[in-house]
Subunit: 341 residues, 4 copies
């Protein structure tokens, strides 16, 4: 059976496992106060071109989003996001459970535009009863989005501008950031992101780590009194070094980018294969998530040899389906899948 | 100056004030355990044709909505509502502050359709990852809606059906319920509402009371352990009898309906007047809220003699405006306004 | 039947009712933006000797406490309070429902001492794991306390000092503030309170108003973005002027102090009477709450002619009981009660 | 340097690491729906002697406590706990952040007594204003406690009885459960705990796992709709199998108990050593945490060769100190430490 349902089906990259083994019997203080975590922070800030940011490590995406959003918003504020945003749809209401509203805006291909945000904020403060409404307190984007699409540098610059004008932080969910950075044709680098976003996270769970997301606060004061908040959200790992060691490994010798490139190459090969066999793209994604429209008969057949995710309910004839590659997907897995088409 | 901005600009109906004066020096136990409150509950249940419901009194609409929704939902559930719903727009995120998501659905004229809800719930449980999403836990509607529109009896029956199929409660925000019940041409009675909704409230603040909303739970078990929740929401009035006395008065001798009818008559006269002068309706409302599209020059002139609310930002030529009547609006106020057109 | 159970059993002082009647048909804008509310704010700030504070009006004590505490605390902070504090015992967990911990400290006669607080804060920051603990973010006291006791000026100055040293606000719950200010022998004035506390409230519900508490923020920046928070807590009254008019009346011509003095005089007469008949004080309170230890046989007899509250469970022989007077208690009510002893 | 500060300073038991390596390239579905997790659940239920319980895996103690307590309590309820309880002191207010009150009761040696709880609940419902108070909704105990003490079987039976009488669940925090079960002289087995508690967790983080806690709900309905709640609390691990594999390993061939016994043996040797050298016990603990009273001069000297935790602030002469052993502590580490005394 071939598996293309998601990018969190395997464990960690062998290099990461090796380091976890090597360090296993070290005795270090807890809660991220160890030297591996400090080193990982330094390596990440370096990769981001940041001098005095702060890095906080988490164990998963929903946890990260809920805690960061809670840390950035005041009680009277909500987070602006696309209606399709992960925080709005697939996090079981974690943002609301912490008391904050997700204010949804129209989006296209999973992306928010600077203009939409500017208009919303402008209209908001023109409304005479705005004190009875939830104030826009930050902007949430994901890169890549849930649909595998990417912001261009110009679009990110626009988002950055509108947020700075409004005096609210721009936060990027980078659950699959590596795959976005490794995408063919993207003009966005990690340093751009660190320059344009206020807070973002570098996803590890889906990109080579056993688990782990590295939140980068580009200014150290952005997330004040964050340690107790992390604890309160149940997100402080006793053996914090486990996160430190994994990111230390991923950010040594360009490993993170190297393994993400593999996933993108495999995804591009997959796309080529599907197109070559005459299938239609549902969305044209340059990242490790590929979406095709498949006849339902073909879906049934493919499901006998491969796992993948239907993107929406079957409607009787054709249904979009998602195929995901990861750092470990190998050439012949893709070739085998394409042969079955 | 004429005032048509809202229906909460005056105090209470004189009959209500009279009773508050008469009872002022009575000594009664607190927190709604007095005889006036008990009597008000009985009168309201009678008017609703309910034998064993429960009535809870609150001091305002946002407080009522936040507390009732908190009482009806489990932690993993959210409330389905129109995007234009008061709870989604004008309550400062009170529902989210208590930890619950407002799940917005497409609506028309402020109204939700049974079909929209049925489809949403059906799709929801077909989604294999629905345990990562906020479950639909109740339906919120308002009657009249924020736009002065009304559900028909058939529409309410449809909403009731879909909620019962799904096993979730139907909750009606009745901030202006009296004006809806008194509307010309409505086929919905208070008894229908009590039969079709699980919980609803009868608005007093905008309809003759100094303040006060009467929540009717049509089955006594619907809002279990509700007293501590009311307290927790800061909604338990020490001198609870103040609410009891007001609703006792409003529900004696049909006073509530009588005074609401006055507002509707005035509103219909107003509508006639505007139409007679050639103005276009923005929405055709049969209730005490009337919406007209006015040329911006006319708006400026009218604002010298009357207060009213613009419904959206001015766009340079024509803007919709809202005019609201209430239980105390008198014939000559309306006539005077129309003269100024 | 004589009623001494509480100070919220009657309506409002006749002068307050008169003003509500006189203003009833005025049309004013909502949510506290009317002229009565502005005037009430000015009168209160004047009485407090404050130039640039802010006053916010609420409808009840629990609502006030929950909203103010939510406004003053950051998410990682809790409120220091006596174990006997109203917020810790009798508010159904409203503070916690908004996400904050009540950190209880040892108290004496319902009062916190500066030394206890200083020690707690000092120990807290000495603890190497304090980031895993709830930080002390403010101090809550009540004056009079739940036991009818009062802080001295020196004690309040001590509390003020420790809070300023620690950089956290001192908040006073003044549900019965008037009765405290009117107490025989107190050396604390309203101006002292305004000088020493950061935020406090002047209780109206128990002291002449139908309902209403006036929160005084002694610096305008203390409760930033407070309007949406008030709304979120369900505490924004549509007809906000009702609160404005009541406090306008109470703070015109010294009415508030005058009527509170009546309650204290009646309470002192009551105390004299009980002592004269040989009963033991449970607590020696100079305010409108009096606590005596009564033999259980006497309790049964008294309950046939008067209502009052037992202070704790009966233990078979003697039980403390609370008798409360208010602005309307008259001489012969007290005399009649004493005759029954 | 010798390390005795805590039991979470190393990685995982080599057997656990080995299994993580062996399974690393397996592809399994996410979120705990894999076969390792199912197998771990079965092994744990078997060890507990439970037929139809449910097991949920978490990554840390605070996360576990906050989520389980949120799952067990209704909104109007709080959790009864010792004042010294971890949830009351060292979890940064996570329970309150989710809206619940920790109701603290007097305790002795970190333990609650059945009698204290029974009295509290009885008094609570005798109070006429109990609907204004936070209802006791569950009991939290830890075993071993924060002080390394253990409940006897009779004590646990008493706690179970009082909870069943009151109809509220008994929840045991077992962060160090293995060390409690392996303690010399305890008469409590895992099966006893599964019989007497409603929900409890078996700590892995401090006992052989990289991270992980296994929550056992002894009846499947106790934690209804728990998956979305887990997600909401940020506690659903994408690669859930990581928890499954670790507990699968720990509960195969008695590994969990075997390695916990090692820690207890080392701790007993340590205790002997300290006593032999004339040091006084601060608390007599039969588990892997040992508390001694040390002269401050001795503390300074010891700190040059070993790390350990001071239990409270130094007071100038003698201070209690905690020494913790774990599954990996070896004989000569203990001997070396004792030599330094």
């Amino acid at each position: 059976m071939l598996h293309f349902d998601s990018d969190y089906m395997r464990g960690a990259h062998p290099e990461v496992m090796k380091r976890l083994m090597e360090t296993n019997m070290e005795q270090t203080p807890g809660y991220g106060t160890d030297c591996h975590t400090a080193n990982a922070e330094r390596l990440i800030l370096d990769a981001c071109g940041l001098k005095d940011g702060k890095v906080y490590f988490f164990t998963g995406g929903t946890q990260t989003n809920a805690t960061v959003i809670d840390g950035l918003l005041s009680r009277h504020e909500g987070v602006l996001a696309a209606g399709t945003a992960h925080i709005n749809v697939h996090e079981a209401g974690a943002v609301e459970a912490a008391g904050h509203k997700v204010i949804t805006l129209p989006s296209s291909g999973g992306k928010l535009s600077a203009e939409t945000i500017r208009q919303y904020i402008s209209d908001f403060y023109k409304d005479s009863s705005y004190e009875h409404m939830v104030a826009p307190g930050m902007v949430y984007i994901s890169h890549p989005t849930e649909l595998g699409t990417l912001y261009t540098l110009a679009e990110l610059e626009g988002l950055c501008s509108v947020c700075r004008e409004a005096g609210i932080p721009l936060y990027m969910d980078g659950a699959r950031l590596g795959y976005g950075l490794a995408a063919y044709g993207t003009d966005v680098t990690l340093k751009d992101i660190a320059r344009l976003c206020d807070v973002f996270y570098i996803g590890g769970t889906k990109a080579g780590a056993l688990f782990g997301e590295a939140v980068v606060a580009t200014r150290p004061d952005l997330l004040g009194h964050f340690a107790p908040l992390i604890k309160q959200h149940g997100a402080m790992l006793a053996k914090g070094r486990l996160l430190g060691i994994q990111f230390e490994t991923l950010f040594t010798g360009d490993l993170y980018m190297r393994i993400c490139r593999n996933a993108v190459q495999a995804a591009m090969k997959l796309k080529e294969g599907f197109i070559g066999k005459g299938y239609e793209l549902y969305i044209d994604s340059p990242t490790n998530q590929q979406f095709f429209i498949l006849p339902d008969g073909k879906i049934d057949k493919l499901m006998q040899v491969a796992t993948f995710e239907l993107w929406g309910p079957r409607n009787g004839e054709k249904t979009p389906a998602r195929f995901v590659t990861d750092w470990a997907t190998c050439q012949n897995e893709v070739e085998e899948l394409i042969r079955y088409l």
